[in-house]
Symmetry: D2
């Protein structure tokens, strides 16, 4: 399988490289970066010395059209401009940015402040959450890799909404993210001296992952979904922890419900009753771990859901989608044990 990566200089890019470098079926053909063309990849990321023997190439010279699959690890708005030409030449696409995540171009435009450049491709794109869309992903030409918060939050609410046993109109998702979630961009608020030893909410009045999560939850819920989503920045490098609150409308054995729903999922792990998943227990691993609580036996169910934002929340899920698209064992290249401590 010949693989191309467009825009490999950010955190999802280097994480893709880490995973693909050890993937037995993926042959890395080209990594493009207009700005860094000619620079060896392992000069920018010395951790890849001995594992990736490529230089960044200019998109024009990269021969991406010869690839079987191209990952876009670019800022929002790039993939939608370049994907069509590749798809027409038979290249399949996984976009790690947001370009193909929102079904409705009008919603896209409202939240991302730009018109959609490829509405036809958007119409056929598949939202790449394997636990929901596995068979569609297998056949897709374009896969929209989900956002990090949306992965953790949707997987946590999914069994409840599918079973229709909570008040869909009043869901609360309170989540905390490590700072790598903000990307490898030079900005003041994510400097070490700003983000360390500090904790704060952000985007409470409106975060771009809100419409994505709402869309995904609505798709599986019989009742219209109302969601309050509050993200926080926490001083760690990797990891998302979502604490989800839902009012119970119909009693059932919730622990059993979750275990049944995810029994055959290779990358979702439901912990025993009473557990508290650590984000570090999935650090570097393609895994969503979750646990259920019912405080004081009341009518509110609490779901704790953790992922590594760069793996199950980005590059790992992208490789999982790649495996599905190409009929490989879904676990291939994704069996790293989490790095603890």
């Amino acid at each position: 399988m010949k693989i191309g990566i467009v825009g490999g200089t950010g955190y999802t890019g280097v994480e893709l490289l880490r995973l693909l470098a050890r993937h037995p079926e993926a042959h890395l053909h080209a990594i493009t970066s207009r700005k860094e063309a000619g620079m060896r990849v392992d000069q920018m990321f010395p951790s890849l010395r001995g594992h990736v023997d490529l230089a960044f190439s200019d998109p024009a010279d990269a021969g991406l059209e010869q690839c079987d699959l191209v990952f876009f690890a670019t800022p929002n708005g790039v993939a939608m401009g370049e994907a069509s030409a590749l798809v027409e030449q038979g290249v399949r696409i996984i976009d790690l940015a947001a370009d193909f995540r929102l079904r409705d171009p009008a919603v896209w435009e409202r939240w991302y402040k730009m018109p959609h450049a490829a509405p036809a491709l958007l119409a056929e794109a598949v939202y790449g959450l394997p636990e929901v869309n596995r068979s569609a992903i297998a056949k897709a030409r374009v896969v929209a890799n989900p956002g990090c918060y949306p992965t953790a939050v949707q997987l946590g609410f999914l069994p409840l909404l599918e079973a229709g046993c909570v008040d869909a109109a009043h869901l609360i998702a309170d989540a905390a993210s490590g700072v790598s979630g903000a990307g490898r961009k030079a900005e003041v608020h994510t400097l070490f001296a700003e983000a360390a030893d500090n904790f704060s909410a952000y985007g409470v009045s409106g975060h771009r992952h809100w419409p994505e999560i709402s869309q995904g939850l609505n798709a599986v819920s019989a009742h219209s979904v109302g969601l309050v989503f509050v993200p926080h920045l926490t001083p760690m490098i990797r990891g998302i922890h979502a604490t989800l609150y839902a009012r119970i409308t119909r009693e059932t054995d919730f622990q059993q419900l979750f275990e049944d729903r995810y029994r055959s999922e290779p990358f979702v792990d439901v912990l025993p009753r009473g557990s508290h998943p650590d984000t570090r227990s999935v650090r570097g691993a393609n895994l969503c771990r979750m646990a259920l609580h019912r405080p004081q036996g009341g009518d509110t169910l609490v779901v704790l859901s953790v992922i590594d934002n760069l793996v199950k929340g980005a590059a790992g899920q992208a490789v999982q989608n790649m495996n599905i698209m190409f009929g490989l064992n879904e676990r291939l290249g994704l069996e790293q044990v989490a790095l603890v401590p």
Copy 2:
């Protein structure tokens, strides 16, 4: 004013010392530690060199009965055994542990797993949240200094419950604490290599601050309070961030409500609409900062409330209570600017 501290070897102890060392009216008479008796305080805490010229003394020799005020910075269960003898000798008490926080001895026993040793003193003790009980604190012989989470959560819900404009039966408090909140005890789960680069909830099925918060909120609410409280551990040293969710039952100008409620409070700061308070903005300062949001204009109000768990959540609030008890300017010794970055 002659001041004694019982048990000054933990984080609330050293923080009390930091504040009292620069307090113009407080004269530090004795600090006791059975285990460390004879050791200079600044040998254990070199940060106090040049500021505290005392050694730990054995409680038996400390002459605490000569003090005007004794702070207990001891583990739960110590103060209730020793306070009565001091009070009888005219010494006033501020307990930074939980011994006098829960009005009902039966509730105390259920959550702290020991019978209450001084129910009579408990009956007269005043819960030391100045924003609620200022005048009772002024006259109290025994003040129960509030817990850290309870301070941040109660101050955030207070105006809403007093005004009766939210559904008191379904409140959610989602909070994150820095690791110093777990105290200066040798334990594996709070080691650097365990707690750094990690985030998790804990005590979701039941945390000792839940009955304390519930009691405080019920005291100001016309309707019975139902609270879900989920604490999390976040990799920072100091700080608590509470994200509070309440369903609106009666419309009002919530921002105005909060500004009016706290206008004359020296240590509560309501930020402008749309703000996101950082915990670091109160690091080392005796302050609760808060902000209000109403995501997507829906029916859920989100209050963000931050404190330094060791200052407004412990030692600073204790000094504030001391100032009130002795008729001093409430701000005395508490005007430090937060340490940023």
Copy 3:
């Protein structure tokens, strides 16, 4: 005393504000920022709410010429262009950048890659290390506030070189700095996700603090100084730890030597033999703590020296210099206890 600050949007700026806001003799007249003119200072730094009631002003409108003292907390190269006009109007200057630190304009030009704009002022400027130049500082019109590494390293070597008891030609200074030392600039390498959980040396072949330290040590040494200086970046916000190595050429009681040298210094604290100073023991405090070791009784002396890079290494030392220049008690406004934990 009317005080002006030019360029108050960086870390040394906000730290100056923290200290001056509580200084009993300093009246803050103006803070300038061309870029942020009109913005309230406490909007950029909410930690200053209630303490600083000023907005950033345009340098042209700030009335700096009416000040008794102007601090420059600007990037290198700014102060040397603006200081002369102010000095001519009787304003005294403390520059927290490097413009007036190197006596020789040619050396300045080699290390800072720009010609010196005010060689006459440079000639009269006093290097603001009070432990060496106190009386000259008292009379100076322009004070060059030392760099952070240079403060920690010079104070550690000073007694040895003054006494002439080590091999001056082969000194080694191995130092680690918190990330705030890199300033509040948007850069990739100081992002949280880059600098956290990481440690590396930088600038080993040549760092701008090398000529500054060499100049300072040569000034007090009878023999020519040869220095190897290796700085490292360590994942903490504040603090510098210098580990200094010197070959002993003449035996003496080194502990006594240091205690005698610094006995009357208000802001240098020599710890007992065998101590290991923590950077946190000076966090937020204007203090250099040091300790001496002689491993295996060999011929190499090891000096450990710590400061808070933003206080004794920048803003605190600047306030100390201000106190000296204006005949105030040198301790005024600088008696904060370090924030531990």
Copy 4:
């Protein structure tokens, strides 16, 4: 290959499990812990769920004598008491503690404060630094896995001492370690709230790794080695950074010297001239990265050497030794890419 682990509840234990779980030739037979016998390993370390399907067993029931190889990941002093019985039954041993590191039982006793329990086995034990002792390791019955600091420091000085081009009598090793190096023991000084945002030296007058490093360097040096070793604690989880200083006595192309020495070593990576290795570039990887500098062209050479203390400094090196002992490809199970960011 049947593998046993004695004492798998510490950080080197869980790291061994992480590596062995994915090693294609190692079959994990038993993990012992007297204290935790019966507890599932993945209950203590949820990161191992799905990877390690074992419970801790009591040493008496573990059947360690059936193993081909037993790793001791125990506190110092345990392996020397238990190894002989196993060796007599044909089991080979890799001890990750210090019991077999120091050749001279008297030196052992002086530094570890206990007599050596197995001097005969000590006499035949091989020091497991593959870059020095590869062929002896291949045949060894007992391998003493090197300490973390000793690995980073010896690999950095080795080419210089073998070539005899520096002053062996005056070497300086200044090193910083992540907190996991202190182990998974409940102690106050390694709590998050103590070790975070802090930096300090420790053990300057004498650290147990000093005799180990000295012994190793003396073994390859024609001249007697004099070493000053100063370790520091830095607020990161994993990683050791050693900054080594040596006075040049004979000129040569030092970069070339290092590249030649390590060209065929699978786990030593000499970076290009002028580089500064990050500890994170080896996080989770079995690798020592190093770079050379010659500040100001003077007579002091500076070597920067980084490892992950738990991998090349402990469990990874142990697996590398296992591969060598059993004639496997040395890289087997050790090709993880470092986790960045």
